[in-house]
């Protein structure tokens, strides 16, 4: 049952979304198979354990988490492919799993490798199919194609057989086909995976333009932090099927737990134990050292290092986001002691 949306600005709402799978387990080898044949061992796996959040119209949100955390399952529930075991989702006022025509015309889900293009035909043909299926008027179709062509540079590749396109070209076509009907809500699952840096930048640019032009809501998962930092102000972090963070990207880097990384170039080797007294030792590689220190104490600690160590060079940088999020995943545990590497 759809949860009544109180705020008209909310386009995507997940309320205690949960998805559990039953999986069959098998011991390895032939005897294991035989046993499983006679009496299958089943086990319930909770991929998503009650996730709640709301997205506003026009918002671009990064959806992060390690592999198997439940990102794709959540996206599939929000786009109506999977029926939630419990909880409810509302997207543009619709219940996704009913997969009503009005709902499907307003959303899109792009999954890295799973293509909706017809492999043996030119991409153009798949576009025409989508135009017919989504009932897009000719004028709108031409206008959309023109706009997409400007950002994605589709000229020349639309008439080539899809199987003969490069990965990047295929991804461009895939995205264009998925957005041809001008959906208001975009679920993008790893849209840049496997692409080179230039192509990643272009896809990002395209998503940004699309968002600005149509005020579309974008929910994006990616392995590349650059995607997220370039597009999203807000991030959701999921781990083990639970939402562990929902907030500003900058809050992660400037909150009370926020840290900075101090990079040192030493003139003389030091022991790990000694270095650890100045901050958490992240890397020790000969004379190259990286230390994590609390944001507020950066100046004092840096001064101490300069005084007590033989420092050839010192730089202070923001830690890479992977590391920040990794820290978040371990936030309930004690900071792990750094083993001496030397």
């Amino acid at each position: 049952m759809p949860v009544p949306t109180t705020d008209p600005d909310i386009t995507v709402r997940a309320a205690q979304l949960r998805k559990a799978y039953t999986v069959t387990e098998k011991e390895p080898g032939f005897l294991g198979s035989l046993r499983a044949f006679v009496r299958p061992n089943t086990r319930t796996v909770e991929a998503v354990k009650g996730v709640s959040f709301e997205l506003r119209g026009g918002e671009m949100v990064g959806f992060l988490g390690p592999n198997g955390a439940g990102k794709t399952t959540t996206l599939k529930m929000l786009s109506g492919l999977l029926h939630p075991t419990s909880g409810a989702a509302t997207v543009q006022g619709h219940t996704p799993q009913k997969r009503g025509t009005a709902f499907l015309k307003q959303i899109t889900l792009v999954m890295g490798q799973k293509q909706q293009l017809i492999w043996d035909l030119p991409a153009q043909d798949s576009f025409l199919v989508n135009q017919a299926i989504y009932e897009i008027p000719d004028a709108e179709y031409r206008a959309t194609m023109r706009e997409f062509d400007e950002v994605l540079d589709l000229s020349g590749i639309l008439s080539k057989q899809v199987r003969k396109l490069s990965l990047g070209e295929r991804m461009k076509c895939e995205l264009a086909a998925a957005l041809l009907h001008r959906p208001k809500v975009l679920f993008l699952d790893e849209p840049t995976i496997g692409l080179d840096v230039n192509m990643q930048e272009r896809i990002r640019e395209f998503v940004r333009e699309y968002n600005a032009r149509f005020n579309a809501t974008v929910m994006l998962t990616s392995h590349y932090m650059a995607d997220v930092t370039a597009l999203c102000q807000r991030i959701l972090v999921i781990d083990g099927g639970e939402l562990v963070f929902d907030g500003d990207l900058s809050a992660l880097t400037s909150g009370p737990d926020a840290r900075k990384t101090v990079r040192l170039q030493l003139s003389r080797p030091e022991t790990a134990a000694r270095l650890s007294t100045f901050g958490e030792l992240i890397r020790l590689d000969g004379l190259d050292v990286e230390l994590a220190v609390p944001r507020g104490e950066v100046s004092a600690r840096a001064a101490a290092m300069l005084t007590h160590l033989d420092v050839a060079d010192l730089t202070v940088v923001d830690p890479p986001i992977e590391q920040v999020i990794g820290q978040l995943f371990r936030s309930d545990k004690k900071p792990e002691p750094v083993k001496a590497l030397a």
Binding site: A47, L104, V129, A132, I133
Partner: protein, 268 residues
Amino acid sequence: MNAHTWRKFRVLMATQFAHMTVYRAEIVIWMLSGTLSLVMGLIWMQQAASAPGGEIGGYTARDFASYFIATWGTAQILVVWVAWELSFDVRQGTLSPKLLRPIDPFWMHYVGHWAERIVRLPLMFVLLVIFAVLTGAQYTTQLSHWLAYLLLVPLAFTLRFLLEYCIGLLAFWFEAAENFQELVWVLYAALGGLLAPLSLYPAAVQKVAAFTPFPYMLGLPCDLLTGKADLSDVLRGFFILLAWTVGFGLLRALMWRHGVRKYGAVGA
């Protein structure tokens, strides 16, 4: 039919036709590999020729030739592989992009099959003429019978398509459905009349067959062309096929609704 529906049909048909022409060599191979009815036809012809009186159960060698060539051609129009496609889609997760579109994937497959028929037709026709000339097969010259055939066979195809679709949907529950497909094919071949004209079957088998849709899908249209059945048989057969078609249409809708709920439990 409104303008949007017509446009969807037209575009899907054109695209699927283009798609199928890529696979024309495959189509020819599959077409030539379905020889069961031809082999059976050759044996029955040989037996009739050497039988005292030159006929078996009222069929001369030439009658057998007419019947089995018609069976071969009709079976070509009734070829359905949707069970394999669906089963694959469900297992590999390639159903997902199809589910995201505001159109039931059923229609893509259905139109695709008809588009393939168009690719198949020219060579099939040439072969039919060659077979008929070689064996002296003879067919009805009554236009009404041919029109009735053209009415019956698309319905038979639709029924077979729905039946196979339901088998393919079993993949939601059983992970793989290919062997169910084979089981039903055997019934279709045996009871449809691929092995012999149904009137030559033992009486008990004929009775059982009458309770299945198969004799009306294959045997009846062929009997019509060879002059062994008349329009009243067709009328009866048509309504029986229609009833089965409605039945399987409902079953498909039901299975689809429940199956899609289970989808994703496999791969994710």
